[in-house]
Amino acid sequence: MSVAPGYYLALAGLMFSVGVVGALTRRNAIVIFMFIELMLNAINLIFVTFSRMWGHVDGQILVFFVLVVAAAEVVVGLAIILVISRRRGTANVDDVSLLKW
């Protein structure tokens, strides 16, 4: 038996909203990062849902792209966060506001 797509979409929407709120409210770079991953996975879930719903393979393929990009992003992002925390001893994003007027 199959679960109705609406549930998957609702779950994905919930995950995405949690991710947005988390990314906006938290100060720790790592945590923000994790919330962003949460948003990405919410999107992945939507892709898969629609893919299954319409019987198309396109959504599944796009998920692979998202995963690859997310992996690359994690590599670069974690490297930056690592360097910042080494130099400043903190991963608080509010302390890193040099790129402004």
Partner: protein, 628 residues
Amino acid sequence: MIDLAPYVIALPLAGALLLLIFGKRIGEAAGIVASAAIGVPFLLALAMLVDLLGLHAEERSVIVTTFEWIEVGDFEAAARLLVDPLSIVMVLVVTGVGTLIHIYSIGYMHGEARYARFFSYMNLFAASMLLLVLADNLLLLYVGWEGVGLCSYLLIGFWFERPAAANAAKKAFIVNRVGDFSFLIGIFVLSASAGSLAVGQVNAEAGGMAAGVATAAALLLFGGATGKSAQIPLYVWLPDAMEGPTPVSALIHAATMVTAGVYMIARFSPVFEASGGPALLVVAWIGALTALWAGLLATAEYDIKRVLAYSTVSQLGYMFLALGVGAYSVAIFHLVTHAFFKALMFLGAGSVMHSLKGETDMRRMGGLRKAMPVTGWTFMMGWLAISGIIPFSGFFSKDAILASAWHEGQFLLWLIGAVTAALTAFYMSRLYFRVFEGKLVTPGNLHVHDAPPSMAAALLPLGALAVIGGAINLPGALTLEVFLEPAVGHSEVPGGIVPWILGAIALVAGVAGIAAARFLYALPSGQKPLETLHERFSPLVNATQHKFYVDELYGRAIVLPGKALASFCANFLDARIVDGAVNGVAWLVGQSSWALRRVQTGYIRNYALTFLFGVVVAFSLLAFRGVL
């Protein structure tokens, strides 16, 4: 030989370039090189004249093509030279008198620091003038016209260390520019209405032009001539041009430059004729008034070179008077004789200055004829020639002009001319008596020496020409007038007893002028009547000595408003409006960026929030419009 015409221009041009580049190495030989570069063209011109005389009178107009110069669409201007009686006479004067002046300069400029450069400019001057007179094309003529202007600037300002010379050079150039502008517009008008710039075609089309167009073109051309040939209202540059070395003055006044306007009007006489009167009348009246005006000014000058300068302006006025009454060949005749005696007198004045360590004030000299006989005697020839004493050259040409004016029924013009003749004799005699007659006076009792050989070598032939120059137009076999007829048309000369009477009147006027000058300046009791005269007419004398305040008038009426306009443009239009607009835009951009950069907080969550907000707005818009 006529095909060699391009070399007449090319040789002095080559000389100029050679001296400009290698002048320092050539050193004092530069004078000889330059004299050869202008002397050989004179010989070429003589050969061309012989060839021209070999042709039938109607065929004496040969076009020598060198190369195609400009060809754009319908417009074409070829570098063609026109060899006809008019241009060959001009070439002979320019090269002949020019050569003598060059030879004279060898001695005069000896020891000068920029010796080679001086001769380079002189050669360039001659080359420009030769291009001007030989050009068969208005555009090519204009190149020579501007070249002459440039060289006058370079040579008047030759001693540019002296502020007076630098200013005089600028004045000459700027005043000429005013005339050149008018000339250029005239060329445009002719080009538009005749459809060509070739001399022959313009003159052929002139008859078919509307009278208004022809008058406009003629007056614009004449405007150019007033600049180059120093006529009212643009004559003011010529007296100041005396700041240049004296041979330059001789070259400007006799051979090159100022004769350009006379030549140009004679060359385009059909255009002036086509206007049907008004343009020619303007030329005649401006000429006559200039002759009188400059003659009056000359009476009050104490600087010998400036007296000669005003006398040139006055004599040029005579030439324009002749042009204006349609006696083109007579004008050219006077141009030739004037070139002889004016070059002679300038070189004589230069000889005096050379001997007196640059002194030009005639109040500080006297009795020089006995001390420097060559200069004195040759100057006397020039003086008698310009005073119109028979049988010297000036008598014939001046008399011919007056006779032409009378013949045209312009009695008032004739009267002005006759009065000016007396005036001319008066101021030239004043100069002559003061400088060369009476007791020997020199500034600081200098030892006076006569002209060195190279200078005498120029003075003597010119002296001879001043005496016998009138013979080229004596009624006889081949006179100048008959020779020029194919080029400038026939000029009517009255017959019968009238010309003899007119000649006698002109002669009497000349003698009267000399007698008056002798009474005032040469007799031992001379000082007394002079002083009474000065006292009685003191306002007039004063005004004359201030050159009738023309320079002041131009200063107030033209230069001051011009400066005010320039200052307005610079300080208000440019500084406020133009710069203001630029600076204002920069200020606006700066201010708005200052306000906008507050957005860049540097807090990453801030950016994320904005981003989210933007996404929400975009999606709600799409949803609202029913796309999703």
